[in-house]
């Protein structure tokens, strides 16, 4: 029971928990923006924790796992940003209780 063994168990457990929580959030949340909050941020953190934890179990795989993790960190915000713009432009998706809408206001200033 070395220190890295315990740390690897903790990291993989937390990562799997975050991935499960993102699945539950996508399934249960009421509208698109809530779903996106659960489905894109929690999976980024869960992937980082899970991949680095498995890299501690198998140190020879660590570079490739970190490559996957870095790629996810770089690309997931881009795809979620594109999804958020698509959902915002779809007028039927807009929830009734949306109080602050900076994107709509900045669109009005441009024209």
């Amino acid at each position: 029971m070395s220190f890295t063994f315990i740390l690897a168990h903790v990291l993989t457990g937390l990562g799997a928990l975050f991935l499960f929580a993102s699945g539950v959030g996508v399934f249960r949340m009421p509208d698109v923006f809530n779903k996106m909050h659960a489905g894109t941020k929690a999976t980024t953190l869960g992937s980082i924790l899970f991949l680095s934890g498995l890299g501690l179990f198998e140190p020879s795989w660590l570079p490739k796992l970190l490559l996957v993790a870095v790629f996810i960190v770089l690309t997931n915000p881009v795809s979620s940003h594109a999804l958020a713009r698509a959902a915002h432009n779809d007028a039927s998706e807009k929830p009734d209780n949306l109080v602050i809408d900076d994107l709509e206001e900045s669109k009005g200033e441009e024209q």
Partner: protein
């Protein structure tokens, strides 16, 4: 290890259920993004359990292609390239 398998499999199942049942197109796109990311983690877990490092390359290529796919779907829902 069984706990990790059950947790990630359960998250994958719920996200995939939303992808099938999803009420609107943007819901399905968000569920697709989540599903592909959880699948990448699931592939790495299967690679670890079976001790096959080849599946890591599969996971890397899968994450690249899923990023391109989700981006294409999102730009299509946004009204195409402008």
């Amino acid at each position: 290890m069984v706990i990790l398998f059950v947790l990630i499999g359960g998250g994958l199942f719920l996200a995939f259920l939303r992808l099938i049942l999803g009420t609107k197109a943007t819901d399905r796109a968000v569920a697709l993004d989540t599903t592909t990311l959880i699948t990448t983690g699931f592939l790495v877990l299967v690679a670890f359990l079976q001790g096959r490092s080849m599946l890591l390359d599969v996971a890397l290529v899968y994450s690249v292609l899923s990023f391109l796919g989700v981006l294409a779907v999102a730009r299509y829902l946004d009204g195409g390239l402008r």
